[in-house]
Assembly symmetry: C2
Homo-oligomer: 394 residues x 2
DNA sequence: GACGTTAGTTACGGTAACTTACTAACAACG
DNA sequence: CGTTGTTAGTAAGTTACCGTAACTAACGTC
């Protein structure tokens, strides 16, 4: 490491510690940061001074906590930078703008059916919504734009390889977005929606390691190691949907046999429950609850998930599973079935209990996660953003 | 990061780059290190000077390569520090002492059946062999001792939880070893033998990501991400042996059903081939090759492995698989079967070919890996070893 | 033997972080 | 109401690391 990078590294450390503290609990002081980062007080003061001058951090009113001089609370600056999340889903397009503090500066959503033929329209709409968000946020400097898509994305150029839910194949999403004037000169990335959803979960479980399973159209997911999202070669790590749970079993929409999704995807469940294709994902659970064979269906879902989870836990040696999406509302019922299956097959249980937990169901975690991801460059390299913020308004 | 750590960090960087260069190809010069580490020549010179003075690095005779001043080749110092690997296996106990250059300073091995009742004897023998190694190496300062055991080890205190191959359960291995005078004051760690074997493989594939599968008594393995061994919560990540490949299938020795090991472990194969339990692991492949149903057996192994591999590849999103142990000699025959199964089930194939490769069969990779692991502290924190080496002898 | 080239060193300067010692602002106590 | 103790934050000076620029060293080539 070169000495010039040392400052950058420490700036990043301080800003990250500051953000972590202010999301979790009470804001933190310079002295507190010094303790957490193991840097000295003068060093932290200098770094904080730099961050405050650059409008990346703001000081609050001094707070007295018992004896001693009151601390000056530090928080990520509000309203100085704009991070933008976009979401393209089967029935809507949305855009969310947040600032460094995670505060929502603007939220735009349009409900519209997105299909293969309307791909261009959806992309145009996304650009338009993004334009509205930028305007409503007061034309702040934009950190980055991250687009959530329910499909597979080529890591190099942001092409959507396939998004079954949208009926998209080979859509050059990022390229098309960049062609719009609203996005001129911006940095745009696309990501799988499930992988972005998990970012919201990571915020609530800093530094933890867990498997994340999300039921939406298919079964998506992610692997989180020590608070960091595992990527894999193509950025697809944690795609549990096509884990084989029964060799030669039911045929999956992907053409393979015995995939988890052949048993517990939205479509598989809908068909099994004898429901029409007009039942929304959100209503699937409720529709199931009306049926007499509910327990049986829950049991089937639980055993299928349990097998996939057990294998994943064996390979990864983790002990925590977080259920999200339409799995979250039935997590309590699924838990005993999954637990039984996991305990039959997973090795990790030898060392202690496996935790099967429910996600703290945030509204639209994918969109929020996309915006959070768009914030990341600032925390990774604060130095690059010094001098590029809008001066504080209030 | 504190400024004092910067030096340590750069020392580590330089030493690691130096070691990497000298294992792979021709030794490297100060100028070469400067290029690789992106530090400047004067900085590298200063750091190298420190390492040379500390007897961690040694200079060779200048080598002229075309025009310009000849370079001074730098290599990790030989015979100044001792890293010790121990191995406790079903039929032998061994000890290997190497120096920073990876050169073998002493190798001791005793063939003896190790079982539950002879656990104490085996540990005594290990300590004795270690004493011989230290003596033969000339009482050099010992970096660390790492013990390879074919079983599960508690990460906190080095207890062997279970080692089916040795018939051990709950053996306080590290504690017992430390009680011997030969190991007084040394740092001792225990590790699973398969996880240590993979270190030898990592040396040959620096920075790569792959799944490692090793056939010995059971099917062990490891997951390597960007050249780093994945640990998991208990240090068991990559234990593929008990991946479920057929729910409700054959009963495994672990008591579960449908495990991979229930189909392709040494015992399972031996029984299937109708061989007695006097066939050594090393001879298993040869014994199989004499049978008329060889192709069928290979097919069964390949399909079983393929399923486990496909699921692991799906979850981890990796594209390379390395086969080792008794799987290595039949890797060429297994490859087409595994490939077919993987292509039927794994998603990664959509993005390109999955590579199924054979390990560069080193002799006794577990023991060698243990010694390599025992070397690691020096590369991680060279500063701590400055002033603690034995002065060069030759 | 002058020149170009590559390896490595020397001298110097900038910068970041640490040490020490201070001031600031409060509570508790008598 | 001052004194004392405690915690937050600042100021000044020092240390140490690394980078820059310019050098020397040791070769091959023309």
């Amino acid at each position: 490491m070169q000495s010039a990078h040392l400052r950058e590294h420490n700036l990043s450390t301080v800003l990250a510690a500051l953000a972590a503290a202010s999301t979790s609990a009470a804001p933190i002081s310079r002295a507190g940061l010094a303790k957490r980062t193991r840097l000295t007080k003068p060093t932290v003061s200098k770094l904080v001074e730099e961050l405050v001058n650059a409008s990346l951090v703001e000081e609050g009113e001094p707070i007295s906590a018992g004896a001693g001089r009151p601390m000056v609370p530090l928080t990520p600056a509000r309203g100085t930078l704009l991070a933008i999340g976009l979401e393209i889903a089967a029935d809507h397009v949305a855009c969310l703008g947040i600032d460094l503090a995670g505060e929502v500066l603007s939220h735009q959503i349009e409900y519209r059916k997105v299909t293969a033929s309307s791909a261009e329209d959806a992309i145009d709409l996304a650009a338009e919504l993004l334009g509205r968000v930028r305007a409503e946020a007061g034309d702040l400097p934009v950190v980055e734009v991250v687009v959530a898509v329910p499909g597979r994305i080529a890591p190099d150029d942001g092409r959507v390889l396939s998004a079954p839910n949208l009926d998209w194949t080979e859509v050059p999403l990022v390229g098309r977005l960049l062609a719009h004037p609203e996005l001129a000169g911006l940095s745009v990335r696309a990501q799988n929606d499930n992988r972005l959803s998990v970012l919201t979960e990571i915020d609530h479980r800093p530094g933890e390691s867990f498997i994340y399973l999300r039921g939406s159209t298919g079964i998506g997911g992610a692997v989180v190691l020590d608070g960091a999202l595992m990527t894999g070669t193509h950025g697809w790590a944690g795609e549990f949907g096509h884990t084989v749970i029964e060799p030669g079993g039911a045929t999956c929409r992907c053409g393979r046999q015995g995939c988890l999704e052949a048993y517990v995807s939205y479509h598989a469940l809908r068909e099994r429950a004898g429901l029409g294709d007009d039942v929304l994902i959100e209503d699937l659970v409720e529709a199931l609850s009306l049926r007499s064979d509910r327990a049986e269906v829950i049991g089937m879902i639980g055993r299928s998930l349990g097998l996939a989870i057990a294998n994943a836990l064996n390979v990864l040696d983790l002990t925590t599973v977080v259920l999200s999406g339409y799995l979250a509302p039935i997590a309590d019922e699924l838990e005993p079935v999954i637990r039984e299956t996991v305990e039959q097959h997973a090795l990790a249980v030898e060392a202690g209990p496996v935790l099967i937990e429910r996600s703290d169901g945030h509204a639209d975690p994918a969109l929020r996660g996309a915006a959070r991801a768009a914030l990341q460059p600032v925390f990774n390299a604060p130095g690059a953003w010094i001098g590029r913020t809008s001066p504080r308004s209030h």
